[in-house]
Symmetry: C2
Subunit: 148 residues, 2 copies
């Protein structure tokens, strides 16, 4: 594959990512990562199979890799009512997603003060709270302006 500065940047970043997570850095994983990371709206796994299998990436590898990335919190899954599960690259430090129901772009945001809510829930139910998953849905300005 061509070696533009931009792609090289990706390679370097991804290699570092793998080292940081203690996994071997393979070409296939980089391709899968790039595929999901380059689209803000995320993709389904079948999307990835359709796009990457012709490039010689096996189906099994795609499934294994997405599962791995999800376990490592490099990808996260998003799913609105009636939709299929899509996977979106996780920006480190950003835990939550704001999703356009029209174009599916995913904007991540950081600040959400649910600590108080979690404390309250814990007291009321006896649950040991481990974490939460928050998705906010709406329409982005572009789609609202009629572009979609």
């Amino acid at each position: 594959m061509a070696g533009t500065t931009h792609e090289h940047q990706h390679q370097v970043d991804f290699a570092a990512l793998c080292r940081a997570h203690g996994i071997p850095c393979t070409d296939q994983r980089r391709v899968v990562w790039d595929f999901f990371a380059q689209h803000a709206q995320g993709h389904t796994i079948p999307d990835a199979v359709t796009a990457l299998a012709p490039q010689g990436i096996g189906r099994a590898t795609i499934y294994r890799t997405v599962e791995l990335f999800e376990r490592l919190h490099l990808l996260t899954s998003v799913r609105d009512t009636g939709e299929k599960v899509r996977y979106v690259a996780v920006c480190p430090g950003h835990a939550h997603t704001l999703i356009c129901r029209s174009c599916h772009q995913v904007v991540e945001f950081e600040d959400c003060d649910l600590a108080l809510l979690e404390k309250l829930l814990s007291e009321r139910t006896g649950f040991a709270i481990a974490g939460h998953h928050l998705e906010v849905y709406g329409t982005c300005p572009q789609c609202a302006a009629g572009r979609a």
Copy 2:
């Protein structure tokens, strides 16, 4: 099917539910509804097929019915990292779920003050916020006590 008071209660409730949503009340829909409503931890669609097909409910009907119920907000879907999508009956007035990662029981809760967060996000991103989906994960007291 037998007509105990409890089951009759279900029938009455479900018929009313259908009338309220303007859909025909069929035996199949009642069976599917009961199947999901009677288990706090929810079920996958394949679960339902396995359980209900031998009772003479067709696969296609189960898929159609779950899709319908989800659109009417009678069922809602839940999915933690690495899990399959499960469907849980929605308690009217309760919008959010607290889920045990060990036994998958789903506890619903009402109060969450995200209005402020939504306002902030709207101002910062220009999105028209339509709603949100919040799942809190943890371990329930029973599982923490070693039951699972």
